[in-house]
């Protein structure tokens, strides 16, 4: 009986721990844990609020926390949701689990990154880029400059991209499907595969294989490209679709986004955090971090190596609401095509 008694005592101790004081703010955060933790710690220090942060894993690509917010809707736990992209935030808005807010600190962010109804604001973005090896100068003509180059067999044979099942690649091709049409997009993938393009399971993964020399180039995000360059590999990045024609498509820019969860219990702390996270200082911090997030505040100077949209590259124009509306259906279609 003694072991059982010990076990029961420990269970009681755990239960007593359950009665601990709840946090002042419950934050659901999909941005990389290592990146967001110092920012959240600084907020706690400055404001005196105690934050209970719940993270997502990268392989869930934010959907874990989004589904959790939807499942918890009857008894909401989160006050603020900080997403590392935008489409899933818009999905939450469409599901009616967010409420509008206003943050004065977000005034320097361009209007296209504000929800007209005040449910979300975008900030600190990543761009979709080509990462290529610089130690093969004879093959530079095989590094694509436009999406249609992906379909050329000699280019496709030495390149890779993530299958568009999750994350920014799914968002990217969901946006393109808005412009091209769903059937044309599927055909594009079939042609790319026939041309010899390799598909990996994530952006970081194709970056790793390019960095290690398996491919000449890959289609990835600026934060992954920055990690390869910082770690001392012979690689560089290039923006796509910057051509000289009358209306080039431009490079897709995917911002972080924040929203306030409806019926959150800690309104005051939530407002303080929204002001903090949307400030120019936060963007400055993220721009100087290992993931080199692109600042959107006009007042923030981009550090060396971080391109400024509109100055260093042409960003793509995006109808985010339309892209978010079609993303689930397209994810299912891409799953049929790639998971076999």
């Amino acid at each position: 009986m003694r072991p059982l008694f010990h076990a029961a005592t420990l269970c009681l101790l755990a239960l007593s721990a359950a009665c601990s004081r709840p946090a002042d703010l419950v934050l659901y955060c999909s941005l990389d844990q290592d990146l967001s933790e110092p920012l959240i710690a600084r907020f706690e220090e400055q404001s005196g609020y105690r934050v209970d942060t719940q993270f997502d894993v990268e392989r869930n690509k934010t959907v874990g926390l989004v589904n959790r917010i939807l499942q918890e809707a009857k008894n909401p736990r989160a006050d603020v949701y900080w997403n590392n992209e935008l489409a899933q935030t818009i999905r939450l808005v469409e599901e009616g689990v967010t409420e509008p807010f206003a943050a004065r600190s977000a005034e320097g962010i361009p209007a296209e990154f504000h929800d007209p109804n005040g449910h979300w604001v975008g900030f600190a973005a990543r761009a979709r880029v080509i990462l290529y090896r610089t130690d093969r100068p004879d093959e530079m003509h095989l590094v694509p400059q436009r999406l249609e180059d992906f379909l050329r067999p000699e280019v496709a044979a030495v390149g890779a991209m993530a299958a568009p099942l999750t994350g920014t690649t799914l968002t990217n091709y969901s946006i393109l499907a808005d412009a091209w049409g769903d059937e044309q997009t599927i055909t594009w993938f079939e042609q790319a595969r026939e041309a010899g393009l390799s598909f990996g399971s994530g952006n970081a993964d194709v970056m790793r294989r390019t960095r290690n020399g398996d491919f000449l180039w890959c289609f990835t995000d600026t934060d992954d490209a920055a990690k390869a360059m910082d770690a001392g590999y012979s690689v560089a990045q290039r923006y796509l679709e910057q051509g000289t024609e009358a209306a080039p498509l431009g490079t897709l820019l995917i911002p972080n986004s924040v929203c306030r969860v409806a019926s959150g219990k800690n309104q005051e702390a939530a407002q303080a955090f929204l002001e903090y996270v949307l400030s120019a200082e936060t963007e400055q911090f993220l721009a100087r971090s290992v993931s080199r997030q692109i600042p959107l505040h006009a007042s923030v100077t981009a550090p060396p190596g971080v391109g400024k949209p509109g100055e260093d590259f042409l960003p793509m124009e995006v109808d985010w609401t339309s892209a978010a509306a079609g993303i689930q259906q397209r994810a299912a279609a891409f799953q049929e095509l790639f998971v076999r």
Binding site: L4, Q54, F55, V57, R59, R211, Q328
Partner: protein
Amino acid sequence: MRVLATVVTLIAAWLPLMPVLAPLIDLPKLADVLDARTAGLLWQSLWMSAGSALGAILLGGSFALLTVPFVFPGSGFLKLCLPLPLFLPPLMTAQAWFGLTGMSGPWATVFTFAVCYAPLPGLLVARALSLRPASSSASAELLGPGFARGELLRLSILPAITGGALVFLLAAADFAVPDYFATVGELFHVYAAEIFGHSRSDDAFAGATASLPLVLLCLLVLAGAVVLREKQRVQEVDAKDAAGPRLLGGRASTLALSLGLALLTLLFLLPLGRILWETGMQGPESTRSWMEVSGQAFQDAVTRGRGDILRTLGYSGLAGLICLAIAPIWAHALLQGSRRRRILLTIGLALPLLVPSVAMGFGAIVVFNQPWLDGFYRSIFLPALLVAGRFLPLAVILLAERMARVSATGEEAAALSGMSYARRLFRIRLAPQRGAWLLAGGLVLAFGMRELDFAILLPAANRSAAVRYYNALHFSRDNFVAAYGIVMALILFLPWVLAAAWGNLRQGRRP
């Protein structure tokens, strides 16, 4: 006590499954879920899991066949090391073997699972061999070495298959390892990817619906294994009638030691060594030394990840304790009653292991996210219960196998003399198997430390060691990942190694 065990199991294992069970028992949906594409994925999972099980049987079975029936210098140490590969996260082993050999694709996945889970059939074979009847063993040896070897193999087959079935279940449900090998080489998919894809859709339980074919397949394998285990039961003898190990000398002893060390190197030392080397790995243009990078990685692992490791140890340890309390009760129940009852009980207990982990997590949200359960929902008690509920079957099966060693006649005599159920269970049946009891709790702790998919959905488990590990892996923090994996593994190994060393020391002091 049986009521207590049933209540705890109900809360920990069966209640969170309630919201998932509706799509799972909707068999007509099977036709909607299965088409040519998903059948292809299911086939891929089937052969890969079967291959992993076969590999684990070969590796783990060989290890047990070498270290249990024979005594040679180092055999005791090797026997103690048998469970160690279970404490290494499979993803870490996958990274290590990719780094060592550059292997990728489905066969690399099969190899990794075989290496990681080899101790499961190994432990069951070891137990069966230590229970082989002295009389038949002596007769076989009299007939010649060929007969003796045949006898050992014959006794190993059924427990090896039972262990292989457990490996099959764990390999079939794993998404991370095949995803990793698809990432570093040619893209391929297993059925778990289909479940994972659906788990990311609007409907949080779509993953459970999609898992139906795999759950049925696993149920079939499990039922087969349970029936085989029942068959094996009649071959067992009491420990006092079991044959002792045979002393090996000369070249045979050197050969056995070399083989044992080779197996230990393959299963454990090589992957661990490679990961250690990866803590200081850098690109060719880097100006920092290996020591500098590795030291920084370990420093980061301890400073950034310490809180997560302690939190994970907290709820996984509590889960281990819960299993220490209730697993013996269920294991005892598995040794009694009719054959049909035992089969149904095993399947009932194993159900949480068959359902996708992420569906169990969403089930827990639906059931436990209530305003009146606020404190409990935020506490570490919730993840502890869920970890206990999910991995209880592993503890129960292991313990049942070990408790069967203890003669039932002693317990029957104690019952006739009026001894209570609790005393009979803990003093007569369990006391001689204290090591296995602790190992069962330790296994639950180890599996709890590795759990990701439902841990991330629960407030108190969200900031866990597994979450930090997987995030760092996906964000290419290779040095940190390697150092953090080693820190996690050391935390799991150390108590095991110390307990084993202490046990050996005490045994050595006995007259």
